[in-house]
């Protein structure tokens, strides 16, 4: 499907929305208004939960904060609803920033539990503050007005709601396809991966959280001035899970899915209200929530990926149009050959009672390939994690380019010029090859949230794209940049990781068992690639188990066994060292 076709479909959708009030009855329009209002929250959740993997049960509370803020300001203060929007948005985002700041470091389900907690706490507050009318709420809220036109009838506010929804969709879509959006899409790959790319995971999470809250705030404002009445009920915990349901049914991670999900849930709820009384007279009202929850549970059991991704499988792939040629991204100057760039000095790491790395010292010099070898369990991976900042030292020091890495976060070390690969490949399997490699350029580019959402980033994006494509070509994967990374065989996935690392323009490339699981032919190709990188003056630290692979490739070797350094030297010396024979090739039983 070409881009022009997508635009055509989009335009048709907009026209349909525009003529709807002339075709549909007022009841349908009211329903569409609710769908639009809910969709805004669901789009926020699609970004936060679907893309970023942060499950929030508390969005309803954000909707409430803004709705109440605007309602209060425009009734008691007599201010224009537009000031209400400002107050609602600022207040909601401030609360979100505060909550996010204290809770977003929480892991997995702890984070989601905290959203239940503050969601409940905020919702209880609405009902208990006298100035907000306690459980009676606030009535006779003025409508939104443009000059002298007051948006009173549902067909009037309809245009405002859907204009906002369309703008939100466009901005969210642009954002997802920008530098920051790629970082958001990487959050689900885990903090270690994100930070290894030089991305501050916490900052990206916080920003996503505030964006979702902002969308909820706009939704709450629209709700307050459409229904002209607010009470605590629509902002309680039950609604929080309903929003989550909309985002997940539509297809978590899909922007359009937010709208589809909101539409399905709203229409379904309506028809359940209509038809249940026919099936079960009397007790009907309660069956509604039961039926609804049961459907949601069934959905989560059977079809977790949601509707939009399911439908998208049957649609033709969107065509990819590469951006125009652009100026290359700036490069670092590599240090002169032979200069020490990494110095490990008596590094020590304990896990409880076990000493995984015991006073290990070695240096990596510019322009060389250093092999760190040893049998399984020798502490190589731990050493590796100490260098990249994934683990903290228990003692000793590691200095990169003369600066200690001990107090640096992982992403700071990555930004300083250490790029890594992973023993168990960490790629984003649902992203294309080029997008995966583009992730590597993150520290070399600058576009932030707003520039990304407004598409003011085209020039930089084109430069980054050219760089990523060049690196893909350099490792031999340049022919299919739009393939999904998950479809590659393991050998190519490892090479793709190297391309991603190269896109960061590193001073030191650290490879964690790059040959593990590769076939013989693939190993030869990999060795060839590493040699060619060395001839480009790149410094490489290679942690490897496969002796053959290392021997023919590296300049120097450090051998580890039982957490300690056994010896160090050129491959020839190491091969003939009796201690290495004993430790590495196996004790005689």
């Amino acid at each position: 499907m070409r881009r022009s076709q997508i635009h055509l479909i989009g335009a048709l959708a907009v026209i349909c929305l525009a003529v709807a009030p002339y075709v549909l009855g007022s009841f349908s329009i009211t329903l569409l208004n609710y769908i639009g209002i809910y969709a805004l929250v669901a789009i926020g959740l699609a970004l936060l939960t679907g893309v970023g993997g942060i499950v929030s049960f508390g969005q309803a509370a954000f909707v409430g904060v803004s709705a109440y803020a605007s309602a209060w300001l425009s009734t008691t203060g007599g201010a224009s609803p537009w000031f209400g929007l400002l107050l609602g948005a600022v207040l909601t985002c401030s609360i979100a920033a505060f909550l996010g700041f204290v809770t977003l470091r929480l892991k997995g389900h702890f984070l989601s539990l905290s959203t239940i907690a503050w969601g409940l706490a905020i919702a209880y507050m609405f009902g208990n503050i006298e100035g907000l009318g306690n459980y009676n709420g606030i009535a006779s809220i003025p409508p939104i007005s443009f000059g002298s036109i007051e948006l009173i009838r549902s067909t009037q506010i309809y245009y405002l709601i859907w204009a906002i929804v369309i703008i939100a969709v466009l901005l969210a879509y642009n954002l997802l396809n920008s530098r920051v959006g790629r970082a958001m899409r990487t959050l689900r790959g885990g903090d270690t991966l994100v930070e290894s790319l030089g991305i501050n995971a916490f900052w990206i999470k916080l920003a996503s959280f505030i964006i979702a809250a902002l969308l909820a705030a706009v939704s709450g404002w629209l709700y307050a001035h459409m229904s002209r009445f607010v009470s605590p009920t629509p902002f309680e915990a039950g609604m929080g899970i309903e929003y989550l349901m909309m985002a997940m049914i539509g297809g978590a991670g899909s922007i359009i899915g937010g709208i589809v999900g909101a539409a399905i849930v709203t229409v379904l709820k309506n028809s359940i209200q209509d038809y249940l009384p026919l099936i079960a007279k009397g007790a009907s009202g309660q069956l509604e929530i039961v039926a609804f929850s049961a459907l949601f549970i069934l959905f989560l059991q059977r079809a977790r990926q949601g509707i939009v991704p399911y439908v998208a499988k049957f649609l033709p792939e969107p065509a990819h149009e590469p951006p125009p040629p652009a100026a290359p991204l700036p490069r670092r100057t590599q240090p002169p050959p032979g200069q020490t760039i990494l110095k490990v000095d008596s590094a020590l790491r304990r896990f409880g009672g076990l000493i995984a790395v015991n006073e290990v010292s070695f240096e990596v010099r510019s322009g060389e390939i250093l092999g760190l070898i040893g049998p399984n369990g020798a502490g190589k991976s731990t050493m590796f994690n100490l260098i990249t900042g994934a683990l903290k030292l228990s003692g000793g020091a590691v200095a990169f380019e003369g600066a200690s890495v001990a107090d640096k976060r992982q992403y700071q070390i990555a930004r300083a010029g250490v790029a890594r690969t992973f023993q168990h490949v960490k790629l984003r399997p649902r992203m294309t090859l080029i997008d995966n490699v583009l992730l590597g350029t993150y520290p070399r580019t600058k576009t932030g949230f707003w520039r990304g959402a407004l598409r003011l980033n085209r020039e930089e994006e084109a430069s980054a794209y050219q760089e990523a494509l060049a690196q893909l070509k350099r490792v031999g994967l340049g022919d299919k940049p739009y393939e999904l990374a998950g479809n590659l065989p393991l050998g190519s996935q490892r090479v793709l990781e190297i391309a991603r690392a190269l896109a960061a323009d590193p001073l030191l490339l650290v490879l964690d068992e790059p040959a593990a699981g590769l076939r013989r032919q693939e190993k030869l190709q990999l060795a060839e690639l590493l040699r060619s990188l060395r001839s480009d003056h790149l410094t490489i630290l290679l942690v490897e188990h496969d002796m053959d692979f290392v021997m023919g490739l590296v300049d120097r070797i450090v051998v580890m066994d039982f957490g300690s350094k056994l010896c160090e030297g050129e491959p020839k010396e190491i091969r003939s060292d009796a201690r290495v024979q004993e430790a590495y090739l196996g004790a005689v039983a």
Binding site: D546, Y584, G586, A589
Partner: protein, 236 residues
């Protein structure tokens, strides 16, 4: 009849095939070893035999099709895996770990006697019987894992890298224990990177590379094989 025989077994993670058309068999009372480099698919194969991973192909154990049995039923039938990660119950005592080893047994009256047997074999465990498993050293953990496995009175004991991360002295002790298990009549499938020690302990060996068996034969033949020596045993 072979105790365990597997034919053309394939195991995949998503789209990547980690084990391809592997066939092997173990007679009762035999020690069979599978050797090969990191990432060759050894652990994957073990996980498939015990049922933790889905596989294609045929697996027969004691004349019955393994595909019909889930992990727990396989354990109940005398299959036992000591995994690479040991999978001990860290916050429980050594004694509790051992008792749990006997969980799937019907003959509860024999359990105290077997416990004594394990303590005799590993006196260190007896000393530390009320200590938490998580506080043990690497070698003691491996002993506990072995002892726990023995508590189930397995017919086929599968050991995944028992020497992993252990000091040479301990490795020797572990292999001595493995060899001594021969007397108890248990069959053993031993997966190792420490090729020399494994081949010296085993009756028969298979070499696996990138998910496929590339060589097999009696252990005392393999140990003198030139190509193998060059690849895994260190040429001297």
């Amino acid at each position: 009849m072979a105790l365990l025989s597997i034919e053309n077994v394939c195991v995949s993670y998503d789209k990547v095939e980690a084990v391809h058309n592997v066939s092997l068999s173990i007679e009762a009372g035999q020690i069979v070893t599978v050797i090969g480099p990191n990432g060759a698919g050894k652990t994957t194969l073990m996980m498939a035999i015990i049922g933790l991973l889905k596989s294609k192909g045929r697996m027969e154990y004691l004349g019955q099709d393994l595909a019909r049995l889930d992990v727990e039923s396989r354990v109940g039938q005398g299959l036992c895996l000591v995994p690479e990660k040991r999978e001990l119950f860290h916050d429980m005592s050594v004694y509790d770990n051992l008792i749990l080893g006997s969980y799937s047994r019907e003959d509860r009256s024999q359990v105290p006697q077997d416990l004594e047997g394990v303590f005799e074999r590993f006196p260190r465990l007896k000393e530390r019987r009320s200590q938490m498993a998580g506080t043990l050293s690497g070698g003691e953990r491996q002993m506990l894992a072995l002892g726990r496995a023995l508590m189930s009175r397995p017919k086929l004991l599968m050991l995944d890298e028992p020497s992993l991360g252990l000091a040479p002295l301990i490795v020797r002790e572990i292999f001595r224990t493995i060899a001594s298990l021969r007397e108890t009549g248990v069959s053993i499938l031993l997966v190792e990177q420490n090729a020399r020690a494994a081949l010296e302990t085993a009756d028969y060996g298979y070499v696996i590379e990138t998910g496929e068996i590339v060589q097999s034969g009696p252990a005392n033949t393999l140990i003198h094989d030139e190509k193998l020596i060059a690849a895994y045993l260190g040429g001297h």
